[in-house]
Amino acid sequence: MLEIKKLSVHYGGIHALQGISLSVPDGSIVTLIGANGAGKSTTLRSIVGLVKPSGGEIVWNGKTISGQGTKEIVEQGIVLVPEGRRIFPNLTVEENLFLGAYARNDKPGIKSDMDRVYELFPRLKERRLQKGGTLSGGEQQMLAVGRALMSRPKLLMMDEPSLGLAPLVVKMIFEIIRQINAQGTTVLLIEQNAKAALEVAHYGYVLETGRITLEGKGRDLLNDDRVRKAYLGEGQ
C-alpha cells in the first residue's frame, strides 16, 4: 500500500504539486490523469526519490520513504518505467534486462524472470543481442516494461507508456498491464490516453495544475461529465 499525504513539490518558484494526497492499495491498478504540465511525472519522480518534495509524506507499507535515496526505494520494490522509456541505447536488449535486475543476486531467479519477459514479449527475444537504440519505439517500450519487471516489483509505476505508439501496440501494452496486475503486481499508471487508462484502472485521480480535483472508480470517472469534456474530447 502506497500512501501520499499532502505532497508538495517546488521547482524554484514553481509550485508543481500543491499538497496532493492519494493512495494505491495492494493489488490494484490506480491511474493519475491530467493535462500536460499538471504534475503527473513530478508525482512519480517524487515517489522514487528523483525529486525531493518540499512538504508532505510518502509512505510505503507503513514506512516513510520520502527523503530516502532512489536506490533504497527501488530496492523496496517500487519501480518506475520513466517518461520517454529511457532504455540504454548502447547496451544490448539482454544487458538492459540484466540492469533491471541489478539489485538482485539470485542468478537462477533472474534467468527464469528473463525467460518470462521473453515469453511476454517474444519480439525482445529475437533481438536480445541487438543494441537497445536500434529497436523501434514500440519495442523500446516493451523493453522498458520488461526491464522494470526484472526487479520483481511490488509496485510498478508507468509514466505514459502509450505515448507515440501505434494503436495496436498501445492495446498490447494495456493488455500486458492487466496481465501483470493479475499476477499480483500493484500498478500506478499515468496516461494522456485517459480513456484506455480509466478502462483498465480500478481507481483514478484527476490532477490539474498541481492539485487533485476529482477522484473515483475508473468506471465512474469514465462517465463523469467533467472528465468526458476535459480528457475524453467529448461534448462541447
Binding site: K71, L80, P82, R86, L99, Y102
Partner: protein, 297 residues
C-alpha cells in the same frame, strides 16, 4: 636506416604510446561518466611516481612492492579527489566543476613543490629494468619492453571489466543515462568512485613506469604528458576507451618517428600533438572512434 634501428624505434614508439594510452584512458573514462575533463589527471600521474619514489628511497621497499603500494594509494587518492573536488558540484553548471578541476590541478602542483621540493629528483631505476637486452637484431632496455607488455595486460583486464562484469555494465549504463541508472538501483556514487579509482590506478602505473624510463621527477612532470594524453583522448574520440588507446599509440608513435626520421624538427615534437589534434578535429569532429553525442533531454 637499418632494420634493427627501425625495430628499435618501433619498440620505443610502443612503449611511449603505452604510457600515453594508460593516461588517456583516465581522461576518457571520467569524461564518459561525468562529462568532466579531469584537469588534475596529469598531476595524479605525477603523484603516483613520487609515492613509488619515496617507497623505494625512504622506506626502502623493493621496487615492485613500492609500485603496488603506490598504485593502490594513488587510486584511493583519485577517489578522494572526486569526493572532495567534484562530487559536491555534480549538479552545478558544467563550468563550475571544470574550474574546480583546474583549481585541483594547480593545488596538487603547488603542494608537490611544497612537499616534494621543486628540485628534480633522480629515480633509482631497479637494475633488472635498466638492463640492456638483445632480441635478435634489436637491443633495448628491459623497461621499454615491460611497459607495452604490462599495458596490454592491463588493457585486456579493463576491457573484460567494462564489457563482461556487472560493474562494467553499470558503468556503461551510467555513462549514457545517470538518472535511468539510478532507477535500476545502481549506486551511481560507487560507479563514479570506481571509475576514478581505475583511471588513477592506470595513471599511477603510467607515472611510475615513466619515472623508470625517464628517471627524473619534478612536481610539474605531469603537465605535458597530461595535456598530450588529453589530446590523445580527444583525437581518439573522448568517451571511447578504444579511442583513447588508439590516440595514445598514435601520438607516441608519431612523436618517436619524428625525432627518428626528421631530427631537425625534433625541437617541435610537443607541437605535433596539437597539429594532429587540429587535423583530426577538422576531418572528424567527434574524434577517430567517437560517436556523436545525442544530447539528453
Amino acid at each position: 636506416m637499418t632494420l634493427s634501428l627501425l625495430l628499435q624505434h618501433i619498440v620505443n614508439a610502443l612503449s611511449l604510446g603505452s604510457l600515453y594510452a594508460l593516461i588517456a584512458i583516465g581522461y576518457t573514462m571520467v569524461y564518459g561518466i561525468l562529462r568532466l575533463i579531469n584537469f588534475a589527471h596529469g598531476d595524479v600521474f605525477m603523484l603516483g611516481a613520487y609515492v613509488a619514489f619515496y617507497g623505494i628511497t625512504l622506506v626502502s621497499l623493493p621496487w615492485w612492492a613500492a609500485l603496488l603500494i603506490a598504485i593502490v594509494l594513488t587510486a584511493m587518492f583519485g577517489i578522494g579527489l572526486e569526493r572532495v573536488a567534484y562530487k559536491p558540484l555534480r549538479d552545478s553548471p558544467r563550468i563550475s566543476i571544470m574550474i574546480s578541476a583546474i583549481g585541483a590541478s594547480f593545488l596538487l602542483e603547488s603542494l608537490g613543490v611544497l612537499i616534494f621540493g621543486g628540485r628534480p629528483k633522480g629515480v633509482p631505476v631497479p637494475e633488472v629494468l635498466s638492463r640492456v637486452i638483445r632480441i635478435g637484431p634489436v637491443s633495448t632496455v628491459v623497461i621499454s619492453l615491460i611497459i607495452p607488455l604490462f599495458t596490454f595486460g592491463l588493457l585486456a583486464v579493463l576491457v573484460y571489466i567494462v564489457n563482461r562484469t556487472k560493474t562494467g555494465m553499470a558503468m556503461r549504463a551510467v555513462s549514457t543515462d545517470i538518472e535511468a541508472s539510478r532507477l535500476m538501483a545502481v549506486d551511481v556514487n560507487r560507479i563514479v568512485s570506481f571509475t576514478f579509482g581505475i583511471g588513477s590506478l592506470l595513471a599511477a602505473f603510467g607515472g611510475i613506469m615513466w619515472s623508470f624510463k625517464y628517471p627524473q621527477l619534478n612536481p610539474l612532470m605531469g603537465v605535458m604528458p597530461g595535456l598530450k594524453c588529453f589530446i590523445a583522448a580527444v583525437i581518439g574520440g573522448i568517451g571511447s576507451i578504444g579511442g583513447a588507446v588508439l590516440g595514445g599509440f598514435l601520438l607516441g608513435g608519431i612523436e618517436i618517428m619524428i625525432v627518428a626520421f626528421l631530427p631537425t624538427l625534433s625541437g617541435y615534437r610537443d607541437a605535433f600533438a596539437f597539429v594532429l589534434l587540429i587535423v583530426v578535429l577538422l576531418v572528424k569532429p567527434t574524434g577517430l572512434l567517437g560517436k556523436r553525442q545525442t544530447e539528453k533531454v
